[in-house]
Symmetry: C2
Subunit: 396 residues, 2 copies
C-alpha cells in the first residue's frame, strides 16, 4: 500500500505546486478545526482552567515526544518552545559551561546566520575571550581540534541542501573532547535522523518547515538523556523550574529536558503544531527519504535536460543532499518571481540560488515534471526578464 503522497491531508491551493515546504510547510487539513476548538472550547470556555483541563501545561513535552520519534530520540528527551534562535542560545550556553577551559566554538560559514548571530551575542556577553570559528563547511572536520569547546553545525545547508557527515563529525568532536550541537532545521521531517546513534549532546530545530507547524511555530530542543539532569540552563525561566507554582525565590532546574522550557508556552501555536504532526502517523522517515530522493533526482534530471542555463548548486550525490535542490542563475530572484506567478512556488536565497524543497507528503512525480516544464518555459522564453519581477521587494 502506497502511503505517500498524502495530499488529502493538506489544504493546498488549487493550481499551485508548492516547492517551498522547506521554508514554510503548508496547512495540514485538521489544523484549522483543531485551532478553532482550542480558541472556543479551551480558551473561550475553560479560560484559566485550560492549563489543567486542556493540558496546556504538559503540551511542550507532549509535542516534544511526537517530534522525538521523527529524530530518533527517546520519549522525554525533547521539548518545544520559543524560537530556534533561542534554543541555539540555550544549547550553546549550556555546552560552554560543560567545557569551561576551552575557548573555541566551531561552526561553519554555511550555517544559517541566526545560529552564528546568537553565538556571537552569547560570546560577547560572556566576555571571556571565546572565539567563534567559521571555516568553509568542507574544512570543518579538519578544524575540530582539542582547543574546541563546542562544535555547532546545521546538518543540512539552507541554501544548497549539502549535508554534513552527521556521524563522523559527532565522533570527531567527541574524540577531541568537544560538545556537539546539531541544528536540525532542514533535517527534521526531511531526512532520517537518529539522535541516539549519533550521540550528540544537543540538537535543536524548527517546526514550521518540514513539520508543517505553521508560521512562527515553536522550536524544539533535544538534550541527551544521560546529561540532561546535569545541564545548567542559562535561560532559567519559571517553566523550567522544578516546581513553577511553588513560586520559590530561587531557581531549581526542572526534570531532565524540561529545564529547557523557559516562559509561558505559546498554546495556540503549539496546538496547531500538535495537530499538524498527525500527518506523520504511520510513516517512517526511511519511506519519506526514499521518495524524497526519487523526486529530487527526477527534478534535477528534468531541469538539467530542459534548462542548460541553470547550474546545479546542490550536491549531485543524493546521499550528500537533504530534501531540497538549488540551481544557480544570475537572475534567479526575478526567475523565482516569474515561477511563483505561474504557480510554482520555490524561493530565492542570496546571492543567486533558486531553491526548491521536496516533501513527499504532498509532492508527487507529476508535480515535479510539471514544475520542470514551467521552469523550462520561464528560462527558454526569458520570462524572468521583466522589470516588475526584478523590482519586487525582497522581504523573504
Amino acid at each position: 500500500m502506497a502511503s505517500l503522497p498524502r495530499k488529502h491531508l493538506f489544504d493546498l491551493p488549487e493550481g499551485v505546486i508548492y516547492l517551498d515546504g522547506n521554508s514554510l510547510g503548508p496547512l495540514p487539513r485538521g489544523v484549522a478545526e483543531r485551532l478553532e476548538r482550542c480558541v472556543h472550547k479551551e480558551w473561550g470556555e475553560m479560560l484559566i482552567r485550560g492549563w489543567n483541563d486542556a493540558q496546556w501545561m504538559d503540551q511542550p513535552a507532549r509535542v516534544g515526544n511526537k517530534i522525538a520519534r521523527l529524530i530518533g530520540a527517546p520519549e522525554g528527551a525533547v521539548v518545544i518552545g520559543d524560537t530556534l534562535s533561542i534554543k541555539v542560545y540555550q544549547a550553546l550556553a549550556s555546552a560552554l559551561e560543560m567545557r569551561p577551559d576551552r575557548k573555541v566554538v566551531l561552526s561553519d560559514n554555511g550555517n544559517f546566520p541566526t545560529d552564528l548571530y546568537m553565538a556571537e551575542g552569547l560570546l560577547r556577553s560572556l566576555g571571556r575571550g571565546h572565539e567563534l570559528r567559521t571555516p568553509p563547511p568542507e574544512e570543518v572536520a579538519d578544524a575540530i581540534t582539542e582547543e574546541v569547546a563546542v562544535v555547532m553545525l546545521t546538518q543540512v545547508d539552507y541554501r544548497t541542501g549539502r549535508m554534513h557527515d552527521f556521524t563522523a563529525i559527532t565522533q570527531k568532536a567527541h574524540a577531541v573532547g568537544a560538545v556537539m550541537i546539531w541544528d536540525l532545521a532542514h533535517s527534521a521531517g526531511a531526512v532520517p535522523v537518529d539522535m541516539v546513534a549519533n550521540n550528540a549532546e544537543f540538537a535543536v530545530g524548527c517546526t514550521y518547515k518540514y513539520l508543517n507547524g505553521g508560521p512562527g511555530a515553536p522550536a524544539f530542543i533535544y538534550v541527551r538523556p544521560d546529561i540532561a539532569e546535569t545541564v545548567r540552563p542559562a535561560l532559567s525561566g519559571w517553566l523550567g523550574h522544578e516546581a513553577p507554582f511553588a513560586f520559590d525565590l530561587g531557581y531549581r532546574p526542572g526534570r531532565a529536558v524540561e529545564r529547557m522550557r523557559v516562559g509561558t508556552p505559546p498554546v495556540l501555536q503549539a496546538t496547531a503544531l500538535e495537530e499538524a504532526l498527525s500527518v506523520w502517523d504511520g510513516l517512517t522517515m526511511a519511506e519519506v527519504r526514499a521518495r524524497s530522493i526519487e523526486l529530487s533526482e527526477r527534478f534535477i534530471r528534468e531541469v538539467e535536460t530542459r534548462c542548460p542555463d541553470l547550474t546545479l548548486l546542490s550536491p549531485r550525490d543524493p546521499m550528500a543532499r537533504g530534501s531540497q535542490v538549488s540551481f544557480g542563475f544570475s537572475e534567479s530572484y526575478a526567475a523565482i518571481q516569474a515561477l511563483i506567478e505561474r504557480g510554482v512556488i520555490g524561493d530565492f536565497r542570496a546571492p543567486d540560488a533558486m531553491r526548491f524543497g521536496f516533501t513527499p507528503l504532498y509532492i508527487d512525480e507529476g508535480d515535479v515534471v510539471r514544475a520542470a516544464e514551467i521552469i523550462e518555459d520561464v528560462m527558454t522564453n526569458r520570462l524572468w526578464d521583466d522589470p516588475a519581477y526584478k523590482a519586487r521587494s525582497r522581504v523573504t
Copy 2:
C-alpha cells in the same frame, strides 16, 4: 456615553463571573474569526508569500505600536515577541552592559519569580561576581545606592496588587546612575502607565493578562528611544539584524527597538493578539482605571462586610493597588476551588492568597456584588471544607 463595560466584545461563558483576567484574559469576540482567516487565507493560501502579502514580517512592530499607546510610549518604541522571561533577560543583559563597573542588580522578594530566575541565570552565566539583591518591596527605595547597576522591578505585585511608586523609584535609580527596568505584566491594560514621563530605560510585559491576547500570547519590550540605537542585544537573532535577508555572517543590530526581535515571530499568536487589542479602541487608561477602582472598592467593602474570616492582603489605598484584590485565608486553595465550581473564577497564589482581578472591560458592579454573595456562601457555609477541593492538583 458610557463606554464601559464592553461585554459585547467578549465571548464569556454563560454563568461565569470571570475575576481571573489578570492571569489569562477571556476571548475577545473577533479573535476566532480573525485567526480562522489567518489560517485559511494567509497560511493556507498565501503560504510562504504571507510574510510579504499578509505583512507577517512587520507584525511585531505593528502590534507593538498598539501596545505603546496603552503604556504611554511613542510609536516605534515597542516590539512584541518571545515570552516575558526572555524579554526580562534581554532588558537586563543590555542594561548590565550599560553599567560595566557596577555589580549589583536590585529587585525585591515580591517580584514574580521568573524575573528573579532569569536574572539568576544571566548573572551566573556572566560569572563576573554580580549580586542579585532582593529586599522586601518596602525597602527597595532605600536599597538604591551607587553600587546598583540596574533596578529591576515589577510595578504591580502579582499576589497582592501592591504598587511600587513608579515615578519616585525611577527617579531615585537615575539619581544614583542606575538603569531602570520595569516589568509591566500586571500594569499594561490595568493601570495608566506613562513611559515617557517615567523615563525608565526599559519596560517589558506580557499580553495574555489584561490585554487578552490568549494563552501563550507573546511578550513586549520597550526601549527608551534615545538609547535604543546604542543598546546591544545579548539575544542577537536574525530578525533583530539590520538586514535579515541579506544573510550576512556577522550581526549588525537593527533599527531602534527592532533589534530586540530575536527569531521568527509567532504569527498565529500575534494575529490573535493584534485582533484582541482592538477592544481598547477609543478607550483611555484613565477611564479604565477609574472604573477599576470603583469595582475594587465595592468588592472590598462587600467582602469585608460579608466575610469576617477573610483578611485583606492588598493595600487598602486604591492608589497603591493595581487592578486586583487578594484576601488571605488559611484554606484559600480549597475556597477558590469551591468558588470556581460556583461560577466565580479567581485563583490561588501560594501561600494563602485568594486573588481576584478586576477588568472593567467585561466586569460590572452587578458581577462584583454577585461574586461577593457567592464568596459569602462559600465562607458562611464552609463549602471549602471538602476533601475533593483540598486534594485537587495545583498546576496553576
